[in-house]
Symmetry: C2
Subunit: 138 residues, 2 copies
DNA sequence: CCTGCATAGTTGACGTATCACCTAATACCT
DNA sequence: AGGTATTAGGTGATACGTCAACTATGCAGG
């Protein structure tokens, strides 16, 4: 399921818009903030992505005109990622169908109490992952 | 979780062997069959992979000497994927630590009845995915 | 000031995944 | 047999992710 569910959502997005699932995740983060402007590191944390991955992805999205980078006044190292008007238009156009797809594939299928049980299980495994972050000793 | 759990298992495999998680999955399928020899299409179905993906992956594994292709006597189009001795050695050496990691991250954390609940939820969503295979209408 | 270290972010190389398309062999149908 | 459709599998282009290494700025202690 952890491959086929994202794959299905990805295909739906591609069919209805020019966005990939990761594109969508990035844009959601940006629209969720007041200024549609986020520091790269904060964005990486919110998405639980590596900085490197985000950097590559932002570059691709920048080439397509969905976002752009901007300098940070106080800190010469930092960078903002900023939603462009085109980016905003794109996600606003793509969101409804995506939300419907998520509802149809998950929430219509599962039921509330099951969902809670699922959440509990996932949290436990995530906690395991965090505590054993230095895995390779097993 | 669907990104970080595979990522953790992947890192563990890489640390303890020269295998990636997909490599491991392929090798498991091969060792699970009597002759360590499987038709490409059967392998793709068992892994729930696209033929194309499998073809690319087999080529990479072939270059590393883990598997090799073999002709099918009756059918000039087909191909077997065959486990090489090196491939067998590699997976036998890698499996114990991987099994331990899976147990530690999942089965130690979750508990039997929760696991059953999890399975039920995943099955429902998978059923949704199959029935709505022609998604993009939403 | 200046040396050293930490932080923010980028880059290049490489493995992986998908898509659209291609080739060759087989099956089917008359 | 001859023509068409189907099936098995492979390929090239491109996007995605990770790792290791890099640049440049900031910052702290002497």
């Amino acid at each position: 399921m952890n491959t086929e569910l994202p794959a299905a959502l990805h295909r739906q997005l591609q069919a209805d818009s020019e966005l990939s699932l990761p594109d969508y995740d990035v844009l959601v983060q940006l629209t969720d903030t007041a200024e549609a402007r986020v520091r790269v590191l904060d964005l990486a944390r919110a998405l639980r992505w590596e900085r490197s991955r985000l950097s590559h992805h932002i570059k691709r999205m920048e080439n397509r005109g969905l976002v752009r980078r901007e300098e940070v006044p106080g800190d010469g190292r930092g960078a903002f990622v900023v939603l462009t008007p085109a980016g905003r238009r794109t996600i606003e156009q793509a969101a409804p169908a995506h939300v419907r797809a998520v509802r149809r594939l998950i929430f219509d299928a599962v039921g509330e109490e099951e969902l809670a049980a699922l959440g509990a299980v996932l949290d436990k495994v995530l906690a395991r992952l965090d505590e054993g972050a230095e895995l390779p000793g097993v």
